[in-house]
């Protein structure tokens, strides 16, 4: 079992003829992902890694029965690409692109609320169900299948924590990078809700970071709605206020909202142990299993 993606997921890659899109489409297919089409305006009729490319997402969906999309389109055009995907009523859209203007994402967010599509990202590493499918840029080789769900705002931090788990022989049901931007499609709460409903997931790792109040909301959700045990990690304890720490969303405001302390104490209050190091997070997970 897994959440959101598996080996039946039929994927269209938006931007498959670009450098990133081409490379990662190949990586996804090598991992076993069912990539059925590409969509790039003006490139219809070409093939990339044997996959047919269409001018529009609509054609790709119609001709190849795609039900999910991965967006590797440069930031200036990425919001438009997501709008196009949303217009086809795909079940699932993953936006990898980093650096989409926040006001573009506010408009996407508004449109999203009018559809049944789920958006993951943007500025995220994507999602992987080990042994079945990956939609995004996560390095498949560090994951192994098992019974721990993982949701994180950061890519490389996800890899670090997965590595700590895999070293102990603990595998994953699905790992999701929700992205480090201020406005994102799938939140911690959305992901936790899916893991709670998944019978195979016996424990969940949640890696948050400074900025915003998503972790606090997740803590509230865990306390009220979850039986599956959760262990947490929060990056950015040493970040000074007012400085953007790489991710557009990772910033402690002048008034002190979005601090690591606030998030850690909210999680602790919800009964979620928070590791001081990634190794300690793995300790907590091991103790749950």
């Amino acid at each position: 079992m897994s959440i959101l993606v598996d080996d039946d997921t039929r994927v269209v890659v938006q931007g498959i003829t670009g450098g990133e899109g081409k490379f990662h489409a190949d990586q996804m297919m090598e991992y076993g992902t069912n990539v059925v089409a590409g969509a790039v305006p003006g490139k219809g009729g070409q093939k990339v890694h044997g996959v047919p490319v269409y001018d529009t997402v609509h054609e790709a969906v119609e001709e190849e029965n795609a039900d999910a999309s991965v967006v590797f389109v440069p930031p200036a055009f990425a919001a438009d690409a997501v709008f196009e995907a949303l217009d086809t009523n795909l079940e699932f859209v993953v936006a990898i692109t980093e650096g989409i203007p926040t006001q573009d994402m506010a408009k996407v967010n508004k449109r999203l609320s009018e559809t049944d599509t789920r958006l993951l990202g943007p500025n995220c590493p994507g999602i992987i169900t080990p042994g079945e499918a990956k939609l995004g840029i996560l390095p498949g080789n560090i994951f192994s299948d098992g019974n721990v769900g993982l949701v994180s705002r950061s890519g490389t931090l996800t890899y670090q924590v997965v590595d700590n788990l895999t070293q102990r022989g603990i595998g994953q049901t699905t790992a999701i990078g929700i992205g480090g931007d201020p406005i994102i499609g799938t939140s911690f709460v959305d992901a936790l809700e899916l893991f709670e409903a998944d019978e195979e997931t016996d424990a969940v790792v949640m890696c948050g970071e400074i900025g915003g109040e998503d972790e606090e909301e997740a803590a509230k959700f865990i306390a009220e709605n979850m039986d599956t045990p959760v262990a947490g990690f929060i990056a950015g304890r040493t970040a000074p206020p007012g400085k953007r720490m790489g991710h557009a969303g990772a910033i402690v405001s002048g008034s002190g909202t979005g601090t690591a302390e606030s998030k850690i104490s909210a999680l602790n209050d919800a009964g979620v142990p928070v590791g001081d190091t990634p190794e300690e997070v793995a300790d907590h997970i091991e103790s749950f299993l």
Partner: protein
């Protein structure tokens, strides 16, 4: 990216928001010329990217030539929370009876812009929000439609803006929202909007921050950016295209991915050290970027030791290792000890390539950080 008050006010004035007459000056003589034209009282205001300028002595009111000279003398060249004041705005003083707050920002939780209005202007709005949240009226804006004029009126009435000026303030707010949208602002505010005895409204201060990710389509605003760098190293980082934040400690940190670099900083602190910087070399980094990154941390005189932590997804361990070797072989003597930890894609190949005469190698993040903290302590003795 932050704009200076004078830059934001130019934009406001062009859009039709009433602002006091003002001139920019960078020497005492220029200040004196400006006050002669503008008259007294005049406000002399430091143009630096810090909040709370008034309290810190960066804003003075002059009612005579003597006071203007004194103010110019004391403010120009002063150190304001780490920034040297090189320019002041000389502005006509406004005789006011009331100060209001008007602003627009992004509500992350809602994923929508929010307009805010308060009669408690002239003070730090964040402390108003904390102490008396009811004193701020809020209206969420549908980003697909933009702000309807009625929304601006509604939020002004809800905030209790006096009837005589409510429509004028609402008009300022509508214009602010238009600017927020057309200039890709992340935040835009006027604090205070001053109400004069004759019920005129004037934007007496201006804050405008621009979404860094939108600068590609705001070329005029992007041009204003270079002045905003706090120090030489942050400027250099901008040229290299790194996400970099300078801190005050002595352990230099290089890594890939914001979350993992933040975690490395936190671990340095956890093991008793002090991080000197946040430096994210990004995904897929090749040898040249590695060289630039080492150049950055070696250029920071506070750094006593360096930890280099890469977890490769797109980034390949062997590429990084080659870059580290190349960068360090260029030195006759390595300026500071470097601990390297590689994991993920091609990490094993990378570990084999690394020249262990030049760097120390650790297998886990925890070990690498502890060793770097220890190196920094030893270098400091």
């Amino acid at each position: 990216m932050k704009l200076h008050e004078y830059q934001a006010k130019d934009i406001f004035a062009d859009a039709g928001i009433p602002v006091p007459e003002s001139r920019l000056a960078s020497s005492v003589d220029e200040v004196m010329d400006a006050v002669e034209d503008i008259g007294y009282p005049a406000a002399i205001k430091a143009q630096v990217h810090v909040g709370g300028r008034g309290k810190a002595g960066g804003i003075k009111i002059a009612t005579s030539e003597e006071e203007a000279r004194e103010a110019a003398d004391s403010i120009l060249g002063m150190d304001l929370k780490g920034y040297t004041v090189e320019q002041v705005l000389v502005e006509a003083g406004v005789d006011f009876k009331n100060e209001l707050y008007v602003g627009v920002t992004m509500d992350r939780g809602e994923g929508k812009p929010v307009a805010m209005v308060s009669t408690e202007g002239g003070v730090d709005i964040e402390s108003v929000a904390e102490e008396t949240p009811d004193a701020i009226a809020r209206e969420h804006i549908d980003p697909a439609f933009g702000m309807h004029p009625y929304q601006a009126r509604k939020v002004c009435y809800e905030a209790g803006i006096p009837k005589e000026v409510a429509l004028d303030v609402a008009s300022i707010l509508t214009t602010l929202y238009d600017l927020y949208e057309s200039k890709d602002a992340s935040e835009i505010e006027v604090n205070p909007v001053m109400i004069t005895e004759d019920d005129e409204v004037v934007a007496a201060d201006a804050v405008m921050n621009i979404d860094d990710d939108a600068l590609f389509r705001q070329p005029e605003l992007a041009e204003m950016e270079e002045e905003a760098y706090e120090d030489e190293l942050e400027k250099k980082a901008g040229e290299y295209g790194f996400d970099y934040v300078r801190l005050s400690g002595n352990v230099g940190i290089i890594g890939n991915g914001a979350g993992l670099v933040m975690t490395t900083l936190d671990l340095v602190d956890y093991y008793g050290g002090k991080p000197a910087n946040f430096l994210d070399i990004g995904g897929g980094a090749k040898a040249e970027r590695v060289t630039h990154a080492l150049d950055m941390v070696f250029s920071d005189e506070n750094v006593d030791a360096v930890v280099f932590n890469i977890f490769g997804g797109i980034t390949r361990g062997d590429e990084v290792a080659k870059g580290i070797n190349e960068a360090l072989e260029a030195f006759d003597e390595i300026p500071k000890k470097v601990v390297v930890r590689l994991a993920g894609t091609n990490a094993e190949e990378g570990m084999e390539i690394l020249n262990t005469d030049l760097v120390e190698v650790e297998k886990t993040l925890e070990d690498a950080v502890q060793r770097a903290v220890q190196n920094a302590e030893e270098a400091n003795q």
